[in-house]
């Protein structure tokens, strides 16, 4: 490897003063005796100069609050979710008591046949005779009205 190949990659760091003292000294010694690397160093410094001369970036068109809002996309959807759940809860709380009340107030249905049978039994006990046959009732021991 020639001296130029060895020192050329260090020239940018040399111009930026980012080499150690020992490395800087070696580069400086090489530059003293090498016109090509001295020219290369000037070119690199020219490039750096062009970068430094660039005008500052224009003002951002998007404002800070918009950018901050963009970092939290879930905020809106979470709010909507909470609102939706709240609406469901309200609807359920309004409907549920009515449904439960309806479920519990339905009385046990008695059919006409059952009612007739009960009346016939009561009449039979009252007359102490079978209403259909007229036969007297036999009281079982221990039975009372």
């Amino acid at each position: 490897m020639s001296n130029c190949e060895k020192f050329a990659p260090l020239l940018s760091a040399y111009s930026d003063r980012e080499l150690s003292a020992g490395e800087s000294l070696l580069v400086r010694q090489h530059l003293f005796e090498c016109e090509a690397c001295t020219a290369e160093l000037k070119t690199l410094e020219g490039i750096r100069g062009l970068m430094l001369e660039m005008p500052s970036a224009p003002e951002p068109r998007v404002n800070f609050e918009q950018l901050i809002a963009a970092t939290r996309p879930q905020t809106g959807s979470r709010a909507r979710l909470v609102l939706g759940l709240a609406c469901v809860a309200v609807v359920v709380s309004l409907i549920a008591p009515g449904v439960m009340r309806t479920a519990h107030i339905v009385p046990p249905q008695t059919t006409n046949q059952e009612l007739e049978r009960e009346i016939a039994r009561d009449q039979m006990i009252e007359a102490e005779a079978d209403p259909t046959s007229g036969a007297p009732l036999v009281h079982l021991a221990g039975y009372s009205r």
Partner: protein, 193 residues
């Protein structure tokens, strides 16, 4: 219940801290994003993507490091992702260089661009064009060094690499930049650099 309240309070204070730090870093972050992308639209896209990433990973932020440096790291990574995504979309637009992007990328012929005379009239536009054509890792290193005035050590911390790699990227970046400028405007830059 208490732990829920506590975590809620912590989240609110983290959000407030994030907003405060970001407010301080916002303009600098935009400036770097603009230098990396070369135009307002892409700079804003990059900035927004970086804001979202920073917010998502804010719990990983090491308070001993400057917030701006951490933000630059995020911008750098987001920018590299952006460039890779675009290269995938337009595979024929760039002439792939070496494995590490050492070789020059092909620059579009500006003589076919509308308003080319306006671009050519301005050195800074031309330098920005040349910057845009650079490998993104080299571009970030050069921008942080030459525009933001950061030391190689700071750049190494931001780009999560060694000082030796930063040294190499800056040198190769400037060499690429010179090549692009000479290709864009040989008469002008042939005399200057």
């Amino acid at each position: 219940m208490f732990s829920m309240l506590k975590s809620k309070t912590e989240a609110i204070s983290a959000n407030a801290e994030f907003e405060q730090l970001m407010r301080g870093a916002y303009r600098q972050a935009h400036s770097v994003a603009y230098r990396l992308t070369g135009n307002q639209v892409d700079a804003e896209d990059l900035l927004q993507e970086s804001f979202v990433r920073a917010f998502r990973f804010f719990h990983r932020y090491d308070r001993s490091l400057p917030f701006l440096s951490w933000m630059y790291r995020i911008i750098s990574n987001a920018h590299i992702d952006m460039v890779r995504r675009r290269n995938k979309l337009k595979p024929s637009s760039l002439d792939h260089g070496g494995k590490d992007g050492d070789q020059a990328l092909e620059i579009a012929d500006l003589s076919f661009c509308p308003g080319v005379e306006l671009i050519r009239s301005s050195y800074s536009d031309c330098v920005q064009k040349a910057l845009n054509a650079m490998n993104p890792e080299f571009r970030m290193a050069v921008v942080l060094s030459d525009v933001e005035g950061m030391s190689y050590e700071e750049i190494a911390a931001i780009m999560e690499t060694s000082i030796g790699t930063v040294r190499s990227r800056i040198h190769r970046g400037r060499t690429q930049l010179r090549g692009f400028l000479l290709k864009l405007q040989p008469e002008t830059y042939g005399r200057m650099i």
